[in-house]
């Protein structure tokens, strides 16, 4: 037989415990104070949020390797359009689920500083108001040219111009990428290097094979000639 109102008193004990506990235990009061005053400098990305010494902040405020908010185009440093990785193959445009990417391929190839002639995106717009940060474009890109930025303060007073991010605003250097997603960027770079090496190895092997084949062919031809001559 329970006492009259026992359940209510139990509940009140719990709320009292939480009332007192919220002043003493960080795990009870997990709210982070977001200082909204405009004069305060906003963190550019979650990854850059300063973590003070010994401060028990929640884990979101530490570096988050997989945080994704809005895509950016990568270039390898220097003049952005000179080293941009994107070749305007338009795969991301087709695969984008909410269809927020708009690409126009260049009509001509450019001579780039690395002596490669390459198509480039003449136009590359992404609509912030439509993008749903799903990262599908990053996954389908065969050139590792588009990756996710973690910047989240994207609001703008200009509804038409401001929400459509143009190519030049999307371009970010690989160094910046290393800064916001160090782990991911490192693996991606490793993969690229490995791919490149594999490609070169393949090329080399193919060349060697071709060379060998040519040699064999030449040998055979010579033999045939010799045979012919012998006959």
């Amino acid at each position: 037989m329970s006492i009259l109102g026992g359940g209510i008193f139990k509940g009140m004990a719990v709320t009292l415990r939480n009332f007192v506990g919220s002043y003493f235990y960080k795990e009870r009061l997990i709210t982070n104070d977001y200082d909204w005053r405009p004069e305060d400098k906003l963190p550019q990305s979650i990854g850059e949020y300063p973590k003070e010494e010994g401060e028990q902040l929640r884990d979101t405020t530490t570096v988050n390797h997989y945080s994704r908010n809005f895509p950016m185009l990568l270039h390898d440093g220097g003049e952005p359009m000179d080293t941009v990785r994107c070749v305007a193959c338009q795969i991301c445009e087709r695969e984008c689920p909410p269809q927020c990417i708009y690409i126009e391929k260049s009509e001509d190839k450019t001579e780039r500083s690395d002596n490669k002639a390459q198509f480039y995106p003449a136009k590359f717009d992404i609509d912030v108001s439509v993008c749903m940060s799903c990262q599908i474009c990053v996954e389908v890109c065969p050139f590792d040219a588009i990756v996710m930025n973690s910047q989240f303060e994207l609001s703008t007073p200009d509804r038409f111009g401001g929400l459509l991010v143009r190519r030049d605003d999307l371009l970010k250097s690989n160094d910046y990428y290393h800064k916001i997603h160090p782990q991911e960027a490192a693996t991606r770079d490793q993969k690229m290097v490995a791919d490149k090496a594999a490609k070169e190895a393949k090329k080399k092997a193919a060349a060697e094979k071709a060379k060998a084949a040519a040699e064999v062919k030449a040998k055979a031809a010579a033999e045939a000639k010799a045979k012919e001559e012998g006959e």
């Binding site: 087709r94 269809q99 708009y102 108001s129 038409f160 111009g161 459509l164």
Partner: protein, 187 residues
Amino acid sequence: MSELSHESLLKEFPEAQWDEAAGAVILPATNARTIAEWLLASGWDYCSNVTGVDYLEREVKEKITNDAGETETVTRTEPGRIDVVYHLYSIANKTGPLVIKQRTGREGATAESLTPVWRSCDLQEREVYDLFGVNFKGHPDQRRILMWDEFEGHPMRRDYTEPFDYEWEPTPHAEILEKHQRGKVII
């Protein structure tokens, strides 16, 4: 109680057909309700999923062997149809699924409502009616469910075209959408 498999169903009702490719039993149009009641009585107590599938009229190229023993390619027109698919399970015996289909033409599509047999078909058949335009005979409350009552057309049909977007307003996205529509981006 008979064994819970499609064979026993086909044995009991020879007019039902077995579709090997889809792994489904196609019920005859005449006595779908009777078969469903038999199925419920024989242990398929839970109808999980009800949906429609719309097939447009299309031309199929088939290789057939003619009388002379030669193979030749024949083009045949397959009429459009709508399948209403039911996935049945047995909670008591923990087996399943048994897929049954009702097949109907695209024009004036009608099917037997199985809601009196399995209540779970209630909202889902309404949805099929709403989105595919299949009339369910014997459904207790057949109304549109997801679209509003004044809506015209059945949006899940494959030949459905969107009406003019009267809520359109200029956005920076319009250009992008237009390109996608113009190109009908091919994957």
